[in-house]
């Protein structure tokens, strides 16, 4: 284990124990939990957009799908001592993965704005399916779900949920880090930067687009599966264009092609509006928190066009000229 990994692990341990040390309130804990969940979704989305250069404005559908699947499975399977949750969360990832393949096939023929809007259409259509397919989703009335039940241990408390979801986030982050820094990641990035060169070098655009879409759908689906056991309710209206755009914003604000950026972005977009609402004067005036969130988004883009995660690198650069190449590299991303 090298120094960098050790630092990361210590960092993660500190972050993860912070809520306990500070003794935050239950509602804050819920907020933190949603941040963890959206981090997972954003991470998946970043693999697609940041690393593979493929856009999707329909990813909310995968998150919704994950939520419905897990709710459905845990609701319909008889009490099996926690096995139903495992099956549920597994399918919450797997089925979106398969549908992600379909989206990948669509993406094979489309690019840029066309892909963006086609996926947007896909998202809207799936959302409509959530509304109409009552047998599976219970339609507009929505569906309740139980708390996570891990082999008889119920993770009802916000704290236990936090630990559990954080472990999943960590595992998925490490997994992504590993495969991004390998042949697979290089293939994705090559496809993003120069499709022609990639093809000439033996990278099958077909295969890598499918990888990008299915992996990111998997992550997003898992996030949905966790979501439904935290909020314990799912209804169709949440999984629309707005959420898809939010995922996009998380990834861009946090930092494209940055795992840590995905998490920062999720935290930014989830927490900022809530924090703003709590500030006395701002909270009182209608929509002021919303307006300010919008302003903040724009400010971040203007002053940190590479995302918040890249800020650290900039600061590091000020102190250490040796990282020049690194900086250059960061600046050229996207």
């Amino acid at each position: 284990m090298n120094k960098k990994t050790t630092i990361y692990i210590i960092f993660i341990l500190i972050i993860s124990s912070l809520p306990f040390i500070l003794g935050v309130q239950r509602s804050t804990m819920t907020l933190i939990n949603t941040i963890v969940i959206y981090s997972i979704a954003a991470l998946g989305f970043n693999i697609l957009l940041g690393y593979s250069g493929q856009i999707s404005l329909g990813h909310a559908a995968f998150m919704g799908l994950g939520a419905y699947i897990s709710a459905y499975v845990t609701n319909t399977l008889p009490e099996m001592g926690g096995v139903e949750f495992i099956i549920g969360i597994f399918l919450a990832g797997l089925i979106p993965l398969v549908i992600g393949l379909i989206l990948g096939l669509i993406a094979l023929r489309l690019e840029g704005h066309y892909l963006a809007i086609a996926t947007l259409g896909f998202g809207v259509a799936i959302q409509q399916v959530f509304k109409e397919w009552v047998a599976f989703t219970n339609g507009f009335s929505g569906m309740n779900a139980s708390a996570i039940n891990l082999f008889g241990t119920s993770l009802r408390s916000r704290e236990s949920f936090y630990i559990f979801s954080l472990i999943i986030l960590a595992l998925l982050s490490i997994f992504s880090y590993n495969f991004i820094h390998s042949k697979i990641g290089r293939g994705l990035i090559a496809m993003r930067d120069s499709e022609h060169a990639a093809q000439a070098m033996g990278i099958s655009i077909f295969k890598y687009k499918l990888i990008a879409f299915s992996v990111s759908a998997f992550y997003t689906g898992i996030a949905g599966g966790l979501y439904v056991h935290l909020i314990r309710f799912v209804e169709p209206n949440q999984w629309g264009v707005e959420l898809s755009l939010n995922l996009l914003a998380m990834v861009v604000i946090g930092g494209l092609a940055s795992i840590f950026g995905s998490i920062l972005g999720a935290a930014f977009l989830t927490a900022i509006p809530e924090i703003l609402k709590e500030i006395p004067v701002i909270g009182e005036i209608r929509n002021l928190s919303m307006i300010l969130t919008g302003v903040l988004l724009i400010v971040v883009i203007m002053f940190m066009p590479q995302g918040i995660a890249r800020l650290g690198i900039k600061i590091k650069f000020l102190f250490n000229k040796k990282t020049k190449e690194e900086k250059l590299k960061e600046e050229k991303v996207v």
Binding site: K324, K327, E331
Partner: protein, 235 residues
């Protein structure tokens, strides 16, 4: 006519031009030579206003260009055929040429100019309705040069115009440069083909890692042994 005085320019942290002084007299052909990455393109970018120098002055007929935008500089009569051709891929060949004539006031003569450049490059006439992006590399290069010619500039900046052209066309290009120079256009020419460039130029500058290391009459430069070694492939 055009003067660069003590120019220093950066790309982020890369110091691309270091204290460059270049002087171009009216009616001349001036060439800039140098190895890869020496700063030739950057010099042209500075003149065109794409790269703003940190230090130094750019003067055109004693007017300071430092604050001018690229489009303003074009309307003053300086246009370039940029490195890498940079044609508009989804405009037709003819529309590309018309875009080159954007700042011209004498709209009526544009048709004539079109005929003129088609005369220089007949292949372009054949391809005039084709999307420029689908032209072959050399055809695109011709288009880029022709597009700049359409502006009828006072000073024409050419960044490696012979790149990717067949030998026979390369010859023609140099002939064209001579022709338009005779008609009164001042030319600043960046070339890898040092021998050819020096043969038609009046004056030359040699750049090395962002600095002018040598300048002089092209006749003198042609016989300079250092240059022969470095650029002309002679011994």
């Amino acid at each position: 006519m055009l003067k660069l005085q003590n120019i220093d320019a950066y790309y982020g942290f890369i110091h691309a031009l270091k204290n460059i002084n270049i002087n171009i007299k009216k009616g001349e052909i001036v060439t800039i030579l140098g190895a890869n990455g020496a700063g030739k393109t950057s010099t042209l970018k500075v003149i065109s206003g794409l790269l703003k120098p940190q230090k130094g002055k750019i003067k055109f007929n004693n007017k300071s260009f430092n604050k001018y935008t690229p489009e303003k500089i074009v309307s003053e009569g300086i246009i370039q055929s940029p490195e890498g051709r940079q044609i508009f891929p989804e405009l037709s060949v003819e529309e590309n040429l018309k875009a080159g004539a954007y700042t011209r006031k004498d709209r009526n003569n544009i048709e004539n100019s079109l005929e003129e450049v088609y005369n220089y490059f007949p292949i372009l006439k054949e391809r005039k309705k084709q999307y420029a992006g689908t032209l072959s590399g050399g055809e695109q290069q011709m288009l880029a040069i022709a597009r700049a010619l359409m502006a009828k500039p006072k000073i024409l900046l050419l960044d490696e115009p012979s790149l990717g052209l067949a030998p026979i066309i390369v010859k023609e290009i140099f002939q064209i440069i001579k022709d338009i120079n005779k008609e009164g256009t001042t030319v600043l020419l960046v070339e890898q083909n040092a021998y050819q460039a020096l043969s038609i130029a009046d004056y030359g500058y040699i750049l090395e890692t962002g600095k002018v290391v040598l300048e002089g009459n092209s006749k003198e430069l042609l016989v300079n042994t250092d240059i022969k070694k470095a650029y002309l492939g002679g011994n």
